[in-house]
């Protein structure tokens, strides 16, 4: 079926085709440049249009689900309060969960950071003589860089979520936490599968592509030595791990091999089974606009003859818990609703954020992993607030984005030119005399008013927009001429009594 696979650099048969935009460049020790990557995404109009419309459609589906639930806002309040409560008692719930899980015959491990998490998983695999691992999608394992670490240690890993599998085969990070390959068009997937799975070159029929993936993945599932899942929720009361998927791939990953490893962040706790009623009702409605995922799976105890291990991962979460302005970001249930509604995310693609978490939630939590590297991300937002309104656990996302900007300024993480421009603007706007002189004529105002624009020699305002036209005289001058010093101006007409 497959002749010579194309290497990425090679010319493709249909040369005029729009290539899939790649994500933010690796900044090394510098800052991720979201704006630069976003510009390249916008320069690919077919990808941009599909991405924007696909995610907006999901937002519309989410709205329809919301309107079908009269108690929607009450559910959000409850979800928010349950998470607030749990996080403010996280130590005791973690201990309760650990005790319950152990009583169920589950092994519990604790990982301070990504490296320890990866080492624990590798240790478990080696202890069991496991060389092949099938797994369902987990943003935590992405965050920890687990795949690369295990592959380097000789483990063969197969992602079983279709979108995540596509991204794995393309050696690219997921661009969306729920739909990892949402930035790809069918022909991009066709190219990846032709290159890696040996599907027919140029065949981009979606049924064919999905079926090819099923047929090539299933033997790997059947023969895998170990299975891994993440966890959407873990329940302190029962020790259960709850995983939500649409493909049933977590159930296959957990139930087929003899070893089931769960990787889960410490913030995913809920106190009671009954709390799940609130969260499961909100999760998929917020994420995809469907009432529930096709599969909602509760793993409490290993099946007879099998082992279940849970790795509880901190990786910065306990530190974030102590950040007064940002700890509520730990309430996040990873539904992706904030990304779907974000007008910037939809037009820049998830890869432009340079880390596992993109969109509004990424702007808020990515800097907790590396303040310098992600220091420009809080500026990749218009602060419009739609994210906050769709968040099922009521995280004040846009306010946290705003708060991060001040943190970046205080920590000297603003680019020098920006900081200088702001200092100049602040001095100008604090002085009526300087300000008046600066905007005395509209032409002058254009040079000095959007002061922030002037540090940029490329004239960022005027590249895609016309400047506002001069108005002859300022309002200030008009007032001086028409109103100042006069008794009371004759009003043009009075409110009828």
């Amino acid at each position: 079926m497959n002749e010579t696979p194309h290497s990425p650099g090679e010319a493709r048969p249909r040369a005029a085709r729009e290539a899939q935009p790649k994500g933010a460049a690796d900044p090394g020790k510098g800052r991720v440049d979201h704006a630069e990557a976003a510009k390249r995404f916008i320069a690919a109009p077919e990808h941009l249009k599909f991405h924007d419309e696909r995610l907006w459609d999901i937002r519309m589906k989410r709205d329809r689900q919301m309107h079908a639930i009269p108690e929607w806002e009450e559910l959000r309040r409850l979800a928010s309060a349950i998470k607030d409560h749990t996080l403010s008692h996280l130590d005791t719930y973690l201990e309760q969960f650990e005790a319950a899980a152990k009583a169920n015959g589950v092994h519990v491990h604790w990982a301070k950071d990504g490296a320890e998490h990866n080492a624990i998983v590798l240790g478990l695999l080696r202890d069991h003589g496991a060389k092949t691992l099938i797994k369902s999608k987990s943003m935590l394992t992405e965050e920890c860089g687990m795949r690369q670490a295990l592959v380097e240690a000789g483990i063969e890993i197969t992602e079983t979520d279709l979108g995540e599998r596509i991204q794995q085969l393309d050696a690219e990070a997921p661009s969306h936490i729920v739909m990892p390959a949402v930035h790809k068009l069918r022909r991009d997937v066709s190219d990846v599968f032709a290159r890696t799975l040996g599907t027919e070159q140029g065949n981009d029929d979606i049924h064919y592509l999905a079926e090819s993936q099923r047929m090539t993945t299933r033997p790997l599932i059947l023969e895998a030595d170990a299975g891994m899942t993440g966890g959407n929720f873990i329940i302190a009361e029962t020790g259960a791990v709850v995983v939500c998927t649409n493909e049933g791939n977590a159930d296959l990953s957990a139930n087929t091999p003899k070893l089931h490893i769960v990787s889960v962040g410490i913030e995913k706790l809920l106190p009671r089974t009954s709390d799940l009623g609130v969260f499961i009702r909100l999760l998929s409605r917020s994420a995809l606009g469907s009432p529930i995922t096709q599969y909602t799976s509760h793993f409490r105890s290993p099946r007879a003859g099998a082992e279940m291990h849970i790795v509880l991962v901190d990786n910065g979460r306990s530190t974030r818990l102590g950040m007064p302005e940002f700890w509520t970001s730990l309430k996040c249930i990873r539904c992706g609703a904030c990304m779907n509604t974000c007008p910037v995310y939809r037009r820049s693609g998830g890869l432009s954020y340079g880390f596992t978490y993109a969109g509004p939630i990424g702007l808020v939590i990515d800097p907790t992993f590396d303040k310098h590297k992600f220091s420009s991300l809080p500026f990749a937002s218009t602060l419009n607030g739609s994210c906050t309104n769709v968040c099922p656990v009521k995280i004040n996302l846009h306010e946290q984005i705003y708060a991060w900007r001040a943190v970046m300024a205080e920590n000297h993480e603003l680019p020098f030119a920006k900081k200088t421009a702001m200092a100049a603007a602040g001095a100008l706007l604090a002085s009526p005399r300087l300000f008046r002189a600066a905007i005395a004529t509209a032409d002058q105002a254009l040079l000095s008013l959007p002061r922030f624009a002037q540090y940029n020699a490329l004239n960022a305002w005027g590249k895609g927009r016309e400047n506002p036209r001069g108005a002859g005289q300022t309002f200030h001058a008009w007032w001086a001429k028409n109103r100042a010093g006069k008794a009371k101006a004759a009003a043009p007409g009075k409110q009828p009594s």
């Binding site: 403010s88 301070k112 087929t256 009954s274 469907s290 306990s318």
Partner: protein
């Protein structure tokens, strides 16, 4: 210090001011009529198939459907399969099953979900490796919504409990819905009361 203690100490040091745990209402008032109808509406929206009961012999249409199938594993007394489920074989041995038939522990009207545990499945992979899954559901076992569902005793006693809501599905390529992404290609429900 162990990582466990390091993490717990950090959490203890950083935890925010305590917030009360709210009670969660059941939100079921006025929604307890026509549970089967509500269930079917939701179930079909999620891609599920509803099977009709036959006159006289309620499982006759189902039996007819199985006629041409290859390997059929039945976990219900109402209808026979072609192969008994051998609980001692590895879970991967079910890869050649065409149709699996099980009975749901209960159903959820709000979402059109059915609940299955190891008790119903025998081998958990049966519900995923089979090409098609047929589920008998007693209309008396349907609860109003997920709040009611999560009060069910099965959660405390099952090792594994799963809600299925339609068949395996994906829309990961251009948003086009595909059934049978990794698990079953179809999920059908026969609303048959328990014997």
């Amino acid at each position: 210090m162990s990582s466990r203690d390091t993490i717990l100490n950090a959490v203890r040091a950083n935890r925010p001011a305590p917030v009360d745990l709210p009670d969660v209402p059941l939100f079921g008032e006025g929604r307890d009529d026509d549970l089967l109808g509500r269930f079917f509406t939701a179930f079909k929206l999620m891609g599920g198939t509803v099977l009709e009961l036959g006159d006289g012999d309620p499982v006759a249409p189902l039996r007819a459907r199985l006629g041409s199938a290859g390997v059929v594993v039945s976990r219900v007394p109402e209808i026979a399969g072609t192969r008994d489920l051998d609980l001692t074989l590895p879970p991967s041995s079910l890869a050649d099953v065409d149709i699996a038939i099980v009975r749901a522990a209960f159903g959820v009207a709000e979402t059109g979900s059915i609940a299955l545990s190891e008790r119903e499945l025998g081998v958990n992979t049966l519900a995923y490796l089979a090409q098609h899954l047929i589920v008998l559901l007693d209309p008396a076992d349907i609860v109003i919504n997920l709040h009611h569902a999560y009060r069910r005793p099965e959660f405390a006693r099952s090792r594994y409990l799963v809600f299925h809501t339609g068949p395996s599905a994906t829309a990961d390529i251009e948003g086009v819905l595909i059934h049978g992404a990794q698990g079953v290609r179809s999920l059908s429900i026969l609303p048959l009361p328990r014997e």
